[in-house]
Each structure stands twice: as structure tokens, then as C-alpha cells.
Assembly symmetry: C2
Homo-oligomer: 775 residues x 2
């Protein structure tokens, strides 16, 4: 394999050793708040189990399976896994995700709920297969949950290697790569069970036969005293017998499996519970696809849920497994002898049952060797592989260092930590406390999507809602928040959550152009405040007639401290008007004249001719309690989890800066002033959220007549998604010619402000946009 390494180094292909295809599948059983298996249905929000590629159920209705897509890097994959975990966790009502591979408190075998499916041929097939498994293995065993780690190299990379190889067939070349990894995996897999085995224990409700094999360590809690993994052990998730399947060639592999099927030992390839599985392009017809298309990727299946981590596996573990697979590729190995296969299986069991036993010896080429020596040897080889392939960085060196430490001190092993926790708290309590703790962790930043925090909140919300529905997505341009969503063969391109195909280009151009918007609204008899920009007094006088009968503001184009501003009452004379003009032109070369509409500004979100959210923004403020200073009240208010800095949260922290100080001073106030009880102190003139303003939901509080005006405005511009900014004098007074007006229509309204307002309901705009797009 030195040759392969040389090609990689010479051709500078090293980046393809870490930029691969990674994917994680994870099962968690749902439990109620007492640690009993949940008897409820899989949440509806995740849709059809067979159609949601991210969130489904495994064997049991109570066994949620989350599946990341295939992603380029471990980091992305880990983030996605965490997001899926959080999304699922937060949709559960009084239930938790059980953090342990071995099941919680179980009902009688017959009461364990098996997944139900819709009455389709696919659904019936899934149902039938579960019936078969229940009968053959029992439902309890099928509840054992774990992590599957999918891995393959980029085809682009394999193609470049293939061109340099002597191979005459690309598929055979690919097979060779993955079969070699698999063979070494079989040989060295005990190492992963040793390091990452995470469930020596089970609950008392588990099968009596298995309970009998273990020691009782706490009430209703049983454990392998020095074992590492119940799930990987003899009572774990495995076939009725050990099958001897060849990994020397695709052909032999397929033939061996076919033989077992013809002997009725397996119902299909997927019943073969191998610690690593060969996967193909078409996994619904796996064996046939492997036979025809070759091996597409590998699935590492022996990883237990790690209860010490919210997501069930740490990112370090992912790095370790990745490097382990590379080690398997770059370690010589032509064929697996019967002896090697036998030794691999034996070592697997030994480690699962007795991994933490002092001076444990494993089989090695017909001899016994200390586990510790064998392990440290593999680790040093892994280190060397990383070094030679030039991917040696902290991600990999850290995880290797941790592994080395746990050979010297078995207390550092996950299995050890779990066992002592269970001894102390009992099986249910220990795991349930972790489950509840992780639920709380998922609540932090629940508006954001892990791994995508650089995107705008609106886009993060849309993506989260898309994931829930099982819509596949791709980030096409991160900076631009440019994504695509795909489901059932339909792809939509979306920018900043609300720039979609639902609006035509000309519609957007209308909204983008204030002048044109105004013309079109006026043509549609929608009230728009009169206004004009003037650079000389004559033009302004020419427009005198325009403002008559309307309360009107005359102001310099740029103004400091309100100088040069006149507010003319509804009735005013030409002389009043000319005085106002002179006053304004005294301060600036250009002036603005605007009809003055009293009241407050509301952002009305219109989607497909319906108002789906109304928001009013209030300048940064605090409410007095008669005891605390403005400074302290601000500090308190800033503790809200919704408030952050740098636009990464729905609201911004209030700053005690120069602008705020000046504004307070203009009211004869200061930071250490103690506001009276129920006195509202404003710290800013402007109501922007970005300067600490509050967003207040008014969706249910405004007269329908105003909503209709907003909808009519959207229709006038032919807009499907838009934010109508309207001044309303009194939301309970019917609209007339002088008590409201449209300020502008926004073609790219943010959705996050309507989902996470300071006060009010989550208006679920992400979901509504997905509905509108037909997803």
C-alpha cells in the first residue's frame, strides 16, 4: 500500500482523505418521564416514516432513527447529527430520547410496539419484515440501539487513483479498496469495542436469560462487571450463529450471502448483522446492486450509543473511526484466513464481555498477546498512517492520545464510567437523568441550526423545518444564504428564506423600487403617504396643492437634533408652507416633505394572499420596578436567551453606549437612574431590533380591514411573499383616508422575527413557506 500512499502524496490528493462521504445513522428509544418505553406514536410532524430521509423509526414505533445525509467532512456530519437530535428531542411531548443502547424499563414482550406503516406495498413489506424479526429474535433484542457510521471516498478521488493504477475496471478497483478495509476491520474491530463499547449494563425488565448472565449492580440494574458492550456481546444484537462470509471479492461475498438465504438462515442480506456492512448504490435491492454496481460505501455497525454525550457519539470518536478505516486501508492484507476470521470473532466477544479485565489477552496469529500491547501497536500504526498521509492534525492526534490513555487507565473508558454511574444511581435513574439533561441542552439556541450558524436565522429556521419534513437540502452559497430544497423529484432554489420562485422577477423589481411601488399602490386605490424630495423652494411651492388637507412634515433631508423640522396641521396656508420650506432649507440644500401619518408602524407578513404574521417594533427599553437602576434592568433584560450579539439571535442585547447615553440625557436621565415602578424608559429613538429593540407580535390584534389592505397591497404588486410596512394610527379604528398608509413593501421579509418575537407566539413561518412551496 506504500504505492497508493505515494500516488496520493505525489498527485497532491491528500485532501480527499478527509474530504470523503460521511454519514451517521442513530437509533434512540423514546421513554416517558419515568424511564418507561414510550407507548405513543412517532410524532406526526415528521411525516411518512418511509419518506422522511432524516427522521424515521427503526424496528419499534418508539425507536426513533435519525440519519444524516452523506456529507463531506466529519464536522459537518457531526453538526447535522446534533441538529437532528435536537430537532427530534424538542418535538417530543413529556418524552425523552433514551441515551443508552440497551433498552429502558420495558413492558411485556407482546406490548412492545412495533413500527406501523401506511398501507402501501412498501409499508406492508416493512411491517412484514418486522413481524419476522419479532418472531425470530424477539422484540427486546430489536430494541438494542446503536450508531451506524457510513463511509466512502469521493468517486472523483477513486477515479484519479484508478487512472494511476494497473486496474482495468473501475468497479473492481473500488471493490478492492473497500474489501481491504473490511478485512482489516474484521481483524482489528475489537479495538473499537474496547474503546467505544458503552453499555455493559441492562435493566431488570430485559430478558431473564440475559439478566442471568450479568451481576446485579443496583436495584433492577445488571452489568457485565468488566465488560464493555452488552450489545456487541453474545446476548446482543447478532445472528443466531456466526456466519462465515468471504470479504475477499465481491463475487465471493455475494455468493456466500446468497447461500445463507437459500438455506433460509437469512431472509435477506439485511438480516446479516455484520459489524461492518458492504453497501451499494441501491440499498433497497442491496445484494443485486452490489453484484451489478459494485461496493459503494461501508457501514460500520458496531458502535454503541455513548450515553456520556448528548448526541450518542463524540466528534473525537468519529475522527478515531475515520482514521481506523484509513489504517485498515493502508495496512497490508491480501486475504483473510480462516484463522484470522476466527481470531477476530473471538477477540470481539472477549472485549465485549471482559474488555476491562486486567491483563486481558487476545488471540494473535495463534498466540495470546496482551490486549494493551496489541492496542497500543495499532494506535501507533494509525498515528504513522496519519503522518505519512499528511492529515495529522489535532483532530486525529487528540483522539489517539485519549485512546492511549485509556489503555493505561481503564477507568477512562466509556463502559467504565457508565457502569459506575449505574452502580451509584441505578440503571433507570442514571440514564434518565442524562436524557433530561440533554433535553435541556437541546433547548439552548433552539432557533438555530448546528453547523449552519453562519447563515441568517431565517434560513436556519427554514432549514430546520425542511429537515423535520424530510426535505433534502443543499447550501449552494453560504454567504448568500442560497439553498436548494428537494423532495419527490422537485427542487426549489431559495435565497434568504423568502426569495423564491413564488415571486416573479418583475414583482420583485416593483417592490425594490419605491417610486414604482407607490405608483402601483395609488393606482389600486391603496393609501400611500404623499411625499416629495426637493432641492429648491420653487419646486416645493409648485407642489403646495398636493399636501393641502393633510398633516404634513417639512424637514431637511439630513437633520441633526430635529433642527429645521415643521409639522404642519391638517389645514395650513401657503404662507405657513413657505415658512416651513424656508426653515428646512435653512438647514440643508435638499428637503423632504411627507404626509404625516400618526400611529405606529407594523410589519405585516403576507403569504399567498393571507396575513401570517404582524409585528411591531419598539425601541430598546426597560420597565422600571422602583428598585433597580436602568443599568441593572438592562443587564437583566439581556439575560433572555433570545438576545445575542452580531445578529445570531432573534433579538439583540441592549448596549449601554454613547447613543443610549445621549438619548437618556435628552430626557434628563442617566444609566444609574432608578425608574419608577411600571415606568418604561426608552434607550433609543429608533426601533430597530439591531439596536436592542423589542419585537411584539400583533397578528391577532389588528382589525381585519388593515390585513385586507396589506393583502391588497401584495396583490397590487403581484407578490406571493412580502412584508408590508404600514403606519396605523389606531389598530381598532376602521381605516380611512388619513389614519393609515403603506410605507413600503419588502420583497425579502425576515421570518425569524415572527417566529421568535420578544412577546407573542411563534408564527411558524418556516413551515408556512414550505407549505406554499408545495413541500
Amino acid at each position: 500500500m506504500q504505492k497508493l500512499m505515494n500516488i496520493i502524496n505525489d498527485k497532491k490528493l491528500n485532501r480527499f482523505l478527509t474530504k470523503c462521504n460521511f454519514g451517521i445513522e442513530k437509533e434512540n428509544v423514546r421513554v416517558d418521564s419515568s424511564g418507561h418505553l414510550a407507548m405513543t406514536k412517532h410524532p406526526d410532524i415528521f411525516g411518512d416514516k418511509l419518506k422522511n430521509p432524516y427522521i424515521t423509526t427503526d424496528f419499534s414505533e418508539s425507536q426513533v432513527e435519525i440519519i444524516t445525509p452523506s456529507l463531506d467532512t466529519i464536522e459537518e456530519t457531526y453538526n447535522f447529527l446534533e441538529s437532528l437530535h435536537d430537532i427530534v428531542s424538542l418535538e417530543l411531548k413529556d418524552e425523552y430520547l433514551w441515551p443508552q443502547s440497551t433498552p429502558p424499563s420495558l413492558p411485556n414482550e407482546e406490548n412492545i410496539p412495533v413500527s406501523t406503516f401506511e398501507e402501501t406495498s412498501e409499508g406492508n413489506r416493512a411491517q412484514k419484515y418486522r413481524d419476522y424479526l419479532s418472531l425470530k429474535y424477539g422484540k427486546q433484542k430489536q430494541l438494542l440501539s446503536g450508531i451506524h457510521y457510513n463511509f466512502s471516498f469521493k468517486d472523483e478521488f477513486l477515479n484519479l487513483l484508478y487512472k494511476e493504477s494497473k486496474s482495468s475496471d473501475f468497479k473492481l478497483f473500488k471493490d478492492k479498496i473497500y474489501l481491504k478495509i473490511s478485512r482489516n476491520f474484521f481483524k482489528y474491530r475489537w479495538l473499537l469495542i474496547y474503546l467505544f463499547g458503552a453499555n455493559p449494563s441492562i435493566h431488570g425488565t430485559y430478558s431473564k436469560k440475559c439478566v442471568g448472565l450479568l451481576d446485579k449492580v443496583a436495584p433492577d440494574s445488571f452489568s457485565y462487571p468488566l465488560g464493555n458492550s452488552f450489545r456487541n456481546g453474545m446476548c446482543g444484537y447478532r445472528n443466531k450463529e456466526v456466519f462465515d462470509i468471504s470479504y475477499n471479492s465481491r463475487k465471493e461475498y455475494v455468493e456466500d450471502i446468497k447461500k445463507l438465504i437459500s438455506q433460509k438462515k437469512l431472509i435477506s442480506e439485511k438480516e446479516y448483522y455484520s459489524p461492518i456492512r458492504l453497501k451499494a448504490k441501491d440499498n433497497t435491492n442491496l445484494l443485486k446492486s452490489i453484484e451489478e454496481d459494485g461496493i459503494e460505501y461501508l457501514e460500520v455497525r458496531l458502535l454503541d450509543l455513548n450515553p456520556m454525550i448528548k448526541t450518542g457519539i463524540s466528534i473525537d470518536q468519529l475522527y478515531f473511526v475515520h482514521l481506523f478505516l484509513l489504517f485498515c486501508l493502508f495496512t497490508d492484507q491480501d486475504k483473510l484466513t480462516k484463522q484470522e476470521t476466527w481470531e477476530g470473532n473471538k477477540n470481539h466477544d472477549l472485549v465485549a464481555h471482559y474488555g476491562r479485565k486486567r491483563d486481558l489477552e487476545l488471540f494473535n496469529k495463534g498466540e495470546f498477546k496482551f490486549l494493551k500491547d496489541l492496542g497500543l501497536d495499532i494506535i501507533s500504526k494509525m498515528d504513522k498512517v496519519a503522518e505519512e498521509l499528511k492529515i495529522s492534525n489535532l483532530n486525529y492526534t487528540n483522539t489517539l492520545r485519549e485512546a492511549i490513555e485509556s489503555f493505561h487507565n481503564t477507568n477512562l473508558l466509556i463502559s467504565s464510567k457508565i457502569e459506575s454511574g449505574i452502580r451509584e444511581e441505578g440503571f433507570i435513574n442514571f440514564n434518565l437523568n442524562l436524557a433530561k439533561k440533554y433535553y435541556k441542552e437541546s433547548q439552548i439556541d433552539n432557533f438555530s441550526l448546528k453547523g449552519y450558524k453562519d447563515l441568517e436565522l431565517s434560513t436556519q429556521i427554514l432549514l430546520k423545518d425542511a429537515i423535520k419534513r424530510g426535505i433534502k437540502f443543499e447550501i449552494l452559497d453560504r454567504k448568500e444564504n442560497f439553498i436548494s430544497l428537494t423532495k419527490n423529484g422537485k427542487t426549489e432554489y431559495i435565497v434568504q428564506a423568502t426569495k423564491t420562485s413564488l415571486d416573479s422577477y418583475s414583482t420583485v423589481l416593483i417592490m425594490e423600487n419605491k417610486l414604482v411601488t407607490k405608483k402601483i399602490l395609488e393606482k389600486n386605490k391603496i393609501k400611500v403617504p404623499k411625499g416629495g424630495y426637493y432641492t429648491n423652494s420653487e419646486d416645493a411651492v409648485d407642489d403646495f396643492y398636493k399636501y393641502q388637507g393633510f398633516k404634513t412634515v417639512v424637514k431637511p433631508n439630513s437633520t441633526n437634533f430635529g433642527l429645521g423640522i415643521t409639522i404642519l396641521p391638517q389645514k395650513f396656508t401657503l404662507k405657513d408652507y413657505q415658512n416651513a420650506l424656508n426653515f428646512a432649507f435653512g438647514e440643508d440644500d435638499s428637503i423632504l416633505i411627507e404626509e404625516f401619518i400618526e400611529g405606529k408602524e407594523y410589519r405585516i407578513f403576507v403569504l399567498k394572499d393571507k396575513v401570517v404574521g404582524i409585528l411591531h417594533r419598539v425601541p430598546a427599553n426597560v420597565l422600571g420596578d422602583g428598585k433597580h437602576t436602568i443599568r441593572t434592568l438592562v443587564e437583566e433584560k439581556n439575560k433572555d436567551v433570545l438576545r445575542g450579539t452580531g445578529y445570531k439571535k432573534p433579538l439583540q442585547k441592549i448596549v449601554l453606549g454613547e447613543a443610549e447615553e445621549t438619548f437618556l440625557a435628552s430626557q434628563n436621565l442617566y444609566f444609574d437612574y432608578i425608574p419608577k415602578k411600571d415606568e418604561t424608559i426608552y434607550l433609543r429613538e429608533n426601533s430597530n431590533i439591531s439596536t436592542g429593540g423589542d419585537s411584539i407580535d400583533f397578528t391577532d390584534d389588528i382589525l381585519d380591514e388593515y390585513k385586507q389592505i396589506a393583502v391588497d397591497s401584495a396583490k397590487a404588486a403581484d407578490a406571493t411573499i412580502c412584508g408590508v410596512d404600514m403606519m396605523i394610527k389606531d389598530i381598532k379604528e376602521l381605516p380611512n383616508d388619513s389614519n393609515h398608509g403603506i410605507i413600503e413593501i419588502n420583497f425579502n421579509p425576515a421570518i425569524h422575527i415572527h417566529c421568535y418575537p420578544y412577546k407573542g407566539k411563534n408564527r411558524k413561518l418556516g413551515e408556512k413557506i414550505l407549505d406554499s412551496l408545495g413541500f
Copy 2:
């Protein structure tokens, strides 16, 4: 009326005296190249005569009528009139627009073609009315053509005046305004016939009865020796008798007309050939609409075609008539007495027949007064009105000054000029020469639209094509080239001719984003040149694998004189690549690496999945003749009418500037070099049209396979209108992986370059876009 003036001045409403509603209708008979009435059909391109609001026929199939929309200013109206004139003129094949109100050489009465209409109820009605007119007046008389000048004040203005008035009813107030103008118009209208009467002459083929009244002034040419207007005279376009219709109130007016209809003297209101006509909101049901809705505007009908001007009327004439109407409003007049009506009619005839007679006297309050004195008196009053209303500017003072001069020297009158022309050249030749001259004038700038030259050429072309089809338009934002098109109740908003509702916002965002476009094209297996931007050598080395197997350019991000550029051949080593990187980084901190696709770049315009134009741009160049210097050849090439400056023409003039000098110097050439015969000298490296480049149409010359790739690219981006920029090595070689590539897709491709290329056909993209929009 002093009161009205005071309100206007006090309320600063003066702008509404010039910002009114103006509209012009003009008839021109079509003639063949010998001056015979054209016997061909009205051009198909103008569509259904009853549906095109701009271009239709009047009585005769050969009598084109053009109608401007109602526009705010005289200038706009005049420009639109000229545009319509040019559009019609240029669509005629070997025919011309007859510039004279009296007809050209006519066939026998029975052979004069009457307009034909589609077999609809409206069409049949139009046909029947023409049959009635033919029978009653003869077809010849109906061929007399002229100009109708529509005028009204803005309703906004009248409303403001109304509020200040004592009137209790807005409609009555409006009626009062327009009736007053009409009454004074009747009284003083002789002045317009005197000044603007423009056809003292007729051709010998005109009715013998009329010919007999005139003097023969040239072969087949007959004239009133001192007359001003045949059309306004007793043999002209008038009713069988003089009707006495009251203009004192709407009610009286309607009753008088109704009486004539009941007496079968008129078939309907529109048969009343009044010199000024009251018009209503609904002109298809005029009398009823006047009765119910009041008077909406006035139609001045006595203006002859002015053959001295291409458009049949000068802008000065329009200003004069406008001021005359204002004079009619602001000159006291309560009721029109019988005597005044009689005098008005008499003076009308006197001026039409003898206007240029020395010392002609007209009726005035029962006495005779010199025409000259009466005329100069009216003019001085008009001047005073302009002064008092503060609209006195050059537009108005010039036209008044000209009028004054023509009282002192009748040779300056249009009628005088026409008569002497006809005496010299004969009726047919004089008018036909003018017609041909005006045709040539229309050809100048035929790519642009008068009054809209500030818009982009693409938008001007689209508007012209819209006008041809009778699509109404509005300019919503001139700077942005933002227009709306409306026909049959459907409105489309369009920016820069190709930003329309046909494309969705997300499609545009895809095209706007090169990164995303590339990703999507690649996903659709469309060839995009590989490329990357690098700020350090390591990243570039990491991408080494990407460029292998492809001819590749490595260059500094910004380069002067090609320094630091390496073109790597299809096969190159890592060392070659690293050398190229070092070379490029030696010149700049950032470099570009691009797959090098040989060949030329083509702009492929795709519209609704069809290629409708392909253009290739060539850098500014001249072709040698072995005799002239580069300088002279450039001067010659720049004479092309398509070449201009400042983007107002389809091509730009080649400049002999520093850039050109430097580029020639790099070839050891200079401006005074004499290129050999057929030697092409390039003056620029870049092929931009803006720097004098040539555009060459290749629409019919490129393999269909490339067109399909362009269509597929558009489909991938879901684009309806786009410009695909493609590099093609050899347009006759089938596409493969290395002989072509998409550079980018433009969401806003110009159309003018495909309509007026340097070489090749007009691809009529304006019309095709209108087709696509469903107009």
C-alpha cells in the same frame, strides 16, 4: 375670469395649465411611388384595426390614422406623434404617407377602397357607417385628411378649482369650463385657419365640381389663389348644411344634436363635423355619455395636415393651439349670440377661401374689421393670458412672434408656401417629393423611439414593437427603464426589456450568482470551464488534480500587459503547475486558474426554450484597402448610422485614443499606418461593443447541438429569457468535453444587439418577447 386666474395664482396651480391631457389624431392617405392612392391593404403588422389604439384606418383602407395616447405635455405628445409617424412610415413597402390634407391622384369614385373590418358586430357597424358616408358625401370628400387635437385639464386641477368655486356640482363646473372654451373657439377659430390652413390646392382627379371653383396653377393642379384651406372651405369636409348647435349648456347641446338625429339630418353625433367637438368618457356612446357624465375633453378638428413638416404639424403649432384654448377660457364670454355664431361661421369660410387676400376684412360685432387688426389683437390678448398665468416661456412667445410676422407677411403662411411649391412642381410632384423626403427622415435613428431616447435601446425597441401592436404602455421609472405594457386588461411590468414576470426571482438569483450557476450547470452535465481563485500557493496546489487533463491558464488576478501568465498544455506535471503558480504569484497576491477553452465567445439569446439570436463580438477593427491609413478607415467606418456615442446607438464609434494607440504599438502599428488590402487591423484587445467592437449575427451558422446546450443551460436555471455566453472552438465541430463551455448565463441580455448587428439580420427580439408575454 379674473377670479379663476387669481385662484390659480394664489393656490400655485399654474403648473396645471401646461401639464394637461394632450392627444393628437392624424390621418394620412397612403400613396404608391407615383403619387397614386395606394390600393393595398392596411399593413398586417398593425393587427386588428379596431383593437390597436395607436394605428388604425379612418374612412378608407388607404387612410392610415395614428392616435397618440393622452399625455401630460405637448412635448411628449409631439414625440409620440413623430414616433407613430415613423413607425408607420417604415413599415410601408414602396409606399409613402401623403403629407397633404387633400388627396393624391385618385381612381374612380367606385375604386376608392373603403376600410374593411373583421366580421364582428363592431366591425360590421364600422363597415355600415362607411357605406352610409360614401353614399351621402362621396368617398373623395371622406379622404380629406387632417389633424385632431384633443385637450383637457387634469381632473386633479379642476377639482382643486371646483373646491374654491361656488359651484354645487363638479360635472357642471367642468362643463362650464369646456363650454366656455368652445364658444370662444367658435368665435375666434378663423385665426387657426388663417395661420395653419395648409391646403389651398387639390389634384385634377378630385371632384370636377370642386376643381371648377379653383384656378389651375400647374398641370392637373388647382388652387384657391389666395385661400388658406380647401378642407375647411365650402367644398371641404363639412356637413350638408350649417347646423345651429348650442354650446351654452350640456343640456342644450345634447338636445340640439338629438333633434338633428331625429330629423335624420345626422345618423349620429359623430356625423356632426364641428370645428371643435365635445367629447365624453365613453366615446363609443358619445351623446349618452356626455348627457350622463358631462364633458370630458375637447377635440379641435379644423387643423389641416401641414405638408412642410414630416409629422403634419409642428410643435409650435401645438403650443399655439394650446395657448389659444387658454385664451378662449380666460376671455369673457357668457353666451354665444346668433350674430356671433353667424359671424364666426362667415369668418371661417372667408379665411378658408380668401385668407391671404390683401386687406381682407372680417365680421366683428356687425361691422367689418381688417383681419390683420383682429388677428393681432387676439395675439396680444393671448400673450397677456400667458403672462398673467405665468406660463410665458419661449415655447409660447416664439409661436406668438411667428404668428405676428405672418400677419405682416402672408408669404410666411403655410398655405402660401404650399401654393408656390405646387405652382413650381405641380401638385403630385411637390407633395410626393416631400413624402419621399420624410420617409428618409424617418429612417434616421430608426432603432430609437422619439421622446424616449433617454431609455436603453432595448427598451426603446420593445416599446416600438408594443406600439405597433397597439399595446398601451406607461413609463414607471425612466432611469430604471421600468415600463408597464397593457392590452386586453392584462398588464405586464418590464425592466430593461428582458426583466419580466416570465422569470421567477429564484431563477434570476441563480443567474446572478456565478458560483451557483456553475454548480447547477455541472449538476445538469453541462460543460463549464473549471476554474478557481487562489490567495495562496498551497490551496492552488491542493487543486492540482482538478486541472489535470485540461489546457489551463494560470494568471495573476490583475495583470498588466500579460505578465505572469502561463498557459499549460493539456498534459502537465505538478512541477509545471508549481512553476506557473510561482510565476503568477510573482505578479499579484491572488491568482486565477482557468481551464482554457479555445475558440470564440458567442452570446446565445434563449427565449422560452428556443434560441432566437446568436451574436459574436469582435474587437474594434478596420479592414485595409491598401490605400488608406488606419485613421481614415476608422473615420469611414464611424460614418455608419448605427454607430454613435454614449450608448444611444446599437454600435459605438471607434475612438483613436490612448488605449488604441498602445494596442497598435504592441503590434508595431500606428494610426497613420496603411493596412494592406484585406488586412484586418484590431484596435482593441477587448471585444466590447462599448469600445467600438463589431457585433456579428451567427444565428443561422452554429450547429444545432450548441443551440441545444444553450437551451439546456437555460432550462437548468429555469430561465425563460436569458443570454447564454458560450465559448465554442469550432462552430462546425460537434460539442465534446473540451471544445466548448458555458461562461455565464445573463438574466438581463440586451436585445438591441440582436436587432441591429453590424453584420446580419434583425432578429426581431422585441416582437418575440411580446409574443412570449402573450401580447
